[in-house]
């Protein structure tokens, strides 16, 4: 399935008439409306907009962490609305990687174990070598057995990067990956992110409110109050 899509070079993500409405205290609240775009394989796209404009919500829908109220999302030719929770989990595991603003490492596991985690899920025998190679690649070969709480923010985010790339995902979602970091550390992370992205030919969807960062992507989608402008 994946190889076919790569050959056609068709859209890896297709979004059409996407809407998200939630029930708040003051009645229904529309967070996203009439969103539509296509992203092709290996493309890098920045989603920008002010805080509260709906960027994270869009990302969560694209990654199948949440379900849309209406409209359609196709990832790798698979309609998200046809998948249940577990189907979406399987899709995430096969094809999607994440990097978050607040790192989201398992506090119980050390750096190496955190990176091995997604591989172990599929029973990969080479989990350990692949994981330590990648940690080496992000410059953490000396910190393999450190727990997240023993690492600095920048180091934690590098572990998260290694974890995101270790499964060689088709698509990488990054939600404000530098939001919790100082600017020079943030710059290093971004540099690493784009390097790894290039090496792996990953489709990158980067959420940010930082114009400078967005410029490094091939395309920019700007949100304002839940709509594309």
């Amino acid at each position: 399935m994946n190889s076919k899509i790569e050959k056609d070079n068709a859209s890896i993500i297709a979004v059409d008439k996407l809407c998200k409405t939630v029930n708040s205290h003051n009645g229904p609240l529309t967070i996203l409306s009439a969103i539509g775009f296509n992203i092709s394989s290996a493309e890098s796209v920045a989603i920008i907009g002010a805080s509260g404009s709906g960027k994270s919500t869009l990302l969560s829908l694209l990654a199948g962490l949440d379900v849309a109220s209406s409209g359609s999302i196709e990832i790798l030719g698979q309609s998200m609305s046809e998948l249940n929770e577990d189907g979406r989990a399987a899709l995430r595991h096969q094809a999607i990687g994440f990097v978050f603003q607040s790192f989201q490492l398992l506090p119980n596991l050390n750096a190496l174990e955190n990176v091995m985690l997604p591989l172990e899920l599929s029973g990969d025998k080479k989990a350990k070598t692949l994981a330590s190679d990648l940690l080496d690649r992000v410059g953490l070969s000396q910190r393999l057995t450190h727990l997240p709480s023993q690492l600095s923010g920048g180091e934690q985010q590098r572990v998260a990067l290694a974890r995101a790339f270790v499964t060689r995902p088709k698509i990488l979602f990054a939600d404000e990956p530098t939001g919790n970091l100082d600017s020079s550390t943030g710059d290093n992370i971004i540099k690493l992110l784009f390097e790894l992205n290039k090496e792996n030919q990953t489709t990158l969807i980067l959420v940010t409110h930082d114009q400078r960062l967005a410029q490094r992507c091939e395309r920019i989608i700007e949100l304002k109050a839940g709509r594309i402008i």
Binding site: S56, L59, S60, A63, L65, D66, E85, D86, A89, A90, L91, R92, H93, Q94, I96, F98, F100, Q104, L105, L106, P107, N108, L109, E113, L117, P118, E120, L121, G123, S149, R163, D175
Partner: protein
Amino acid sequence: MNRLYLALRFLRRDSRSGELTLLMLALIIAVASSTAISLFADRINRTMNYQAAEFLAADLLLSSPEPIAYSILQQGNKLDLKQSQTTEFSSVLMENDEFLLVGVKAVSANYPLYGYLKIRQQSYTEEQTVYHGPKSGNVWVESHILSALKLKLGDQLRVGEKALHISQIVSYEPDKRGDLYSLSPRVMINSADLEATQVLQAGSHAHRFFQFAGSEENILTFKRGLEPQLTVSQRIMDVYEDRPKLGSALQKAERYLGLSSIVVILISGVAIAMATRRYSERHFNSTAILRCLGYKQNQVLQLFLWQFLLIGLIASTIGCAVGWISQEVLLHTLRELLPAKIAAPSILAVFFGMMMGIIVLFGFALPPLLRLKRVSPLRILRRDLVPLPSSAWLVYGLALVLLIFLISQYTDDLKLTLGIIGACALSLLIIAGLAYLLLTATRLLLAHVNLTWRFGLQDLSRNRRSNIVQVLAFSTTLLAIILSFTVRTDLINDWQQHLADEAPNHFALNVFDDQKEALQQELKQQGVKVSHFYPVVRGRLVAINTTPVQQIVTKESQGERAIHRDLSLTWAKAPAKDNKITAGLWPSQRKSHMVSIEQKLAKSLKVKLGDKLTFTIASQQVTAQVDSIRKVNWDTMKPNFYMMFSPGTIDQFAHTYITSFYLATEKKDVLNQLLKHYPAMTLLDVDLLLQQIKRILIQLTAAINYLLYFALLAGFLVLFAAVQTTLDSRIYTGVLMRTLGAKRSFLQKIQWIEFSVLGFIAGLLAVLMAQLAIYALYHFVLKMDFNINLTLSLLVPLASALFIGLAGFWGTRSVVNQSPMQVLREL
């Protein structure tokens, strides 16, 4: 495989960070206490079976006045049962111009099948333990036969027509019964010599006993086959179904032990549920990350179930080991009270302990764990997204099913079980309601107190929901402890009668009218305290109203035994001191031809007040009307009677007297003197039986104390589990307040105030519920007077405030000690 591996990883990390310590401890305590108690009870029980077998000198005993059919013995052979026979009768011996009524016992070669005899040569040489009776041609006698008949060892003694050689003094036989033949001094001969004595002619009065021993299964098969063949005068008794009861004390104690170990399990269960809740809340984030990485819901659940299965196995193993050790320690401390041969612990009990551990763990931990399944991966982006809690039905339903199962194990009575559960549910509701009111009431105080108190109190009314849960946990734990402590105290007090040093240990029977005064005098001179002398008339109950008893009494019913033999009837002006009138009246001036009947017999014979009972006494008929029903404590070693007539009803019949008294061991020689002065009198020494009851009660008291320790430990765990559930949010607010400039001492005081007040409320409610429960128990069940225990009512809330305040203070010390930086970073 992969998930198990990951589960192990998680487990290792979590246990290192102390996340699981509380959970494990709670489970260990639950398993340890139930294993210890079931092992202990099982061993004591089986030890008592051994002892019962010794008392019968057999597993099954058939008694019959006449020889039994040969086919019965053959049936025994077919089932591989070992057999022996004894024949007992009274006979008057005459030597050196002295007469003596003795109880002769002729024993077969295999006698005794269980137990041993003690024999000796001269008075003061060492006793010897043997496992057989005298050889043919020899006779063994009790020591005071020698003095009474002016004989010595080695002399000849004529039993009937046969002269036998006195070879040993016999001082102990396992199956000595408290009936007429055993009470007269013992003469033991070999049954091979029985015929030669020519004492037993056709129609002469003798008791024949046929002993059988074998496996439980074969014994019971044999019994089932035997029962339909029995004649009216034949009786069977076996160690499994008719074990001589050591009084109701034992039964009460067994129930109490069982129910108390459930209390321990329940308290531990509360701790487990609380600890698991915190555990699962602390794993929401990890679960969201796993879900984000592509874990399916069931895979997440499996991961945690594996962990808990491992926890359950590890903790149960440790718990079993601890239980085993404590039970060994318990038996070791009691070893001087126990028979030399104690039943081995059964491995099965350990297996059940393991099972119990897993069941208890999942019964209380599953609902909070299931919540993890519902964690949304979206939580990664939105921290406030908490999964719905498991439905209340599941949470309480599972624990409820578990409890019903456990309680019915010990009560064997569905109505009682449901009653207990219903009472528990009702108390929970009441406590929750009152806790709500009290917590709300603290708000009224806010306007009148200083800043520290205001900060300490305001969370109580603000986080009402979680505080009610905490109060519930604390006060049910306290309630359980108070109740089991109170019942324990009452049980032990109840037993003090047995344990009292001066409880009567001898009965004097067959005291004639004209000897009564003299005997009373003589005992008084010896400084012996005697209880009341009751007249005894032998008689048989033949009809109730106009119906013959045979038509009323079904076989197997309790009344059966009492009806097919002569009863000891008595009359008295006043009821015995420890008897309690449960129906009717016992006026100080009783009309003649009235009778007071014992409660259980009345129930079994369906006798009501006003019924007319007809007795046959010395071939005359006497009718009396039931004027009261009495509850009799058969456990006390005082003369007690099924029927107590009013004076002037049966006085005219020939009667003897019975009394009981206490005789210290060093005064035993008084007995010989008494027997010499009153040769016709029968003395019954119940010291051995008393000793045994005493021993068992001491064992049980020790076991009960053990349980209380376990319950207290479990209670402390609940305390810490409860403190921990709110620890995270406390740390967070604490850090924020410190960054805003609050002093550490200020924060410490706040914690101290909040927990103490919580503890005080919990203590107050626990005392209230406990007094209500005890009142209900005393008033409706035990029919005892109820007094409010004021000390307890004051002490418990104060102690609870102190301890819970301390535990909260100690448990939340990290709130004031952790560096704000570290906390903010870990968030």
